[in-house]
């Protein structure tokens, strides 16, 4: 995924425990933060990221897209050259987080995350 334009990639279980992540962990994500997002994807009626947004590490994000598989978040505030676009995809056993810098590459996060989420779900993982 890093080769596809993402600057950070992380795999977590549904409780937010880290399985693997990029060598450059630009987002210090906590398990609670992952759990909050994963629950929102699973039950968009009870947890609505669209109104509340989400936090990843110390960064605040707003939700620009959400469906039953993926949520796409755009960073609020911060320096223009340090802003991130983050997508989180939920598969059966965990979730994948992909972040890309703002600008031209930002849609890479959604494309990659959707691709891997779809693949992992297709093999019932």
């Amino acid at each position: 995924m890093e080769g596809e334009g993402c600057s950070y990639v992380g795999f977590f279980d549904l409780q937010g425990n880290k399985w693997a992540e990029s060598r450059n962990p630009i987002l210090a994500i906590t398990p609670e933060q992952i759990r909050h997002i994963v629950n929102a994807i699973a039950s968009s009626n009870t947890v609505d990221l669209r109104a509340s947004g989400a936090k990843l590490g110390t960064r605040k994000f707003i939700c620009v897209f959400q469906d039953e598989n993926v949520v796409v978040l755009k960073q609020l505030g911060g320096d223009a050259d340090d802003k991130l676009m983050v997508s989180v995809g939920r598969f059966f056993k965990g979730c994948v987080v992909g972040a890309a810098p703002g600008g031209e590459r930002e849609k890479c996060s959604r494309i990659s995350v959707e691709k891997y989420t779809e693949y992992l779900k297709s093999i019932n993982y």
Binding site: A51, I62, V64, K74, K107
Partner: protein
């Protein structure tokens, strides 16, 4: 507007044709220019068709008016192809290479099958080397050099309310409504024909003409009838039509759709709903940056009424509505800006990509 060179510039001449396809009008020109070179009504007069015996049928003697795009949806591909070809012929310049890339504007959430139809038309029939399909409200924001705000794009057949944050559409908050200029025109036509004691029957074209010349949005939702409001309109055939209360009553359906028998909330309510659907942190910022686009927003008084109604709905937020003078051209201008960027080729589907990947390429490029 300055033209930066990109892969589609030749000797400093832009070679990207930009066509804004609206339900009411179709505008064509070249990327990097300030204004479209041609603007035509989106209506095609189909030639009489021969029947199987080579004779014209009775109903086929007169050219038939075809509206290729209605409410943002393509209804007649043959008509659209002919119209698009006509626009491209009119804007063509001798020094531009043939064929050239095309940037077409499309409404939000247009059907994938339609996008595919455009790709086949442009890349296969017109033999263009590449195609970019861009969403009209996003282009409108580009056209006024902004990256965040709410675009209220009220055109002829469709109203789109699109919150955009730093270039990204907040999809779940988008509103797409079948409440726009043509509804005001139809309401005016109906009101004139129902008027007592002097009903007037006018064509849809005449009704549109009267609407554009005399209609306005009143600042009160229930103004008192006033004879001084009456205006006389002379049609091309010399008939004189007097319009009175219809001048404000008909555009009122934009704010009170139920007056015209339409469902759903008016512009201010829908705008409020769209903003309220966005994250709490950006609502204030969005209320402060509402941009008008589309021909129907040229109706006098619409901007002030919108500010008034929206301010009442969100009393604790500052409401600012920006109505630039050329807002009916915003989408085209945005296309002109986009088409002249150095990164524009990355946004295009090339003929080769389309041949190799087919429909899948849309997911990659236009997500």
């Amino acid at each position: 507007m300055s033209t930066s060179s990109n892969a589609f510039s030749y000797d400093g001449v832009s070679a990207v044709a930009v066509v804004d396809i609206g339900s009411g009008r179709i505008r064509g020109g070249w990327a990097g220019e300030d204004a479209p070179r041609c603007e035509l009504p989106n209506v095609w007069h189909a030639k009489p068709r021969e029947n199987l015996n080579g004779a014209y049928s009775a109903e086929g003697l007169e050219p038939k008016a075809v509206y290729p795009v209605e409410r943002g949806q393509v209804q007649d591909w043959d008509g659209l192809e002919a119209l698009l070809q006509d626009v491209l012929d009119r804007v063509s310049q001798p020094q531009s290479p043939q064929p050239y890339p095309l940037l077409l504007s499309r409404p939000m959430f247009s059907a994938r099958s339609e996008d595919l139809g455009f790709a086949q038309l442009v890349l296969e029939k017109f033999d263009a080397p590449s195609l970019c399909l861009a969403r009209q409200p996003i282009l409108a924001l580009h056209g006024i050099s902004q990256s965040s705000g709410v675009v209220l794009d009220c055109g002829e057949g469709l109203t789109q309310i699109v919150p955009i944050f730093e270039g990204f559409v907040i999809e779940h908050a988008v509103r797409r409504m079948h409440l726009a200029g043509q509804d005001v025109t139809l309401e005016l036509q109906r009101a004139l024909s129902m008027r007592q004691p002097n009903p007037v029957y006018v064509s849809i074209e005449t009704a549109r003409e009267i609407k554009e010349k005399y209609c306005f949005v009143d600042q009160r939702s229930t103004p008192k009838p006033d004879d001084s409001m009456s205006r006389s309109h002379t049609t091309s055939s010399g008939d004189v039509i007097t319009v009175g209360a219809e001048r404000w009553k008909c555009p009122e359906i934009l704010f009170q759709p139920s007056l015209g028998g339409l469902e759903g909330g008016g512009l201010a309510q829908q705008l409020n709903t769209a903003i309220a659907s966005c994250a709490v942190d950006v609502r204030g910022q969005l209320c402060d940056k509402i941009f008008m686009a589309g021909g129907t927003t040229l109706t006098p008084g619409i901007c002030q009424r919108l500010v008034k109604e929206l301010s009442a709905l969100v009393p604790h937020k500052q409401v600012k509505v920006v109505a630039s003078p050329g807002r009916h051209l915003c989408s085209w201008r945005g296309g002109s800006v986009l088409g002249s960027l150095s990164t524009f080729p990355n946004l295009c589907i090339t003929k080769q990509e389309f041949q190799e990947e087919g429909e899948r390429i849309f997911q990659k490029k236009f997500q």
